[in-house]
Symmetry: C2
Subunit: 99 residues, 2 copies
């Protein structure tokens, strides 16, 4: 399994403007083969900072996601809104523990 | 490294009520030895669903966090507010890729 975490910074007022584009990419992504979870949350202390968390079956499914039309549309919406910073990393998941 | 993802559901109106308690646990946790990142975000499509993402140096630092006074205070605040669902899992992180 691959666990992805990361974040994306936009101007705080752009989070509401991007909500429909986020809904589209989130809903389409959750239907993809190998997508175990996919979510965006706005930081509770830092408006405009969007926290990304995802789990994928393997690198192949994550790569296919990266080539999808809905990700291209999302990146276009982000580019139009103006993304200030973006950092997203996937890790191969080893032993897990419920916390 | 340990990557933690999870979520926590509270009544949507309780997110604002819990903000001070979240700020306290987040700020204290970020100062802990071995804490690489620690964040809460409210789901952009699902109010009341708090997405948790954390990175820790190792299991030992995460265990020490679980025993801290600030986590006890946070759990007490959550209990008082009423937590509907909570699921948090840590995974040992293998090979990573920037996405």
């Amino acid at each position: 399994m691959i666990v992805v975490t990361g974040d994306l910074r936009v101007a705080p007022e752009n989070v509401a403007k991007l909500r429909d584009a986020m809904r589209s990419v989130i809903e389409a992504t959750r239907l993809e083969d190998g997508c175990l979870s996919y979510a965006y949350g706005e930081d509770v202390l830092d408006p405009g900072l969007v926290r990304i968390s995802e789990r994928w079956l393997n690198w192949q499914s994550l790569e296919a996601h990266g080539q999808s039309a809905h990700v291209a549309a999302w990146h276009a919406a982000l580019k139009e809104a103006g993304v200030i910073h973006r950092e997203v990393v996937g890790y191969e998941a080893g032993t897990g523990r419920a916390l």
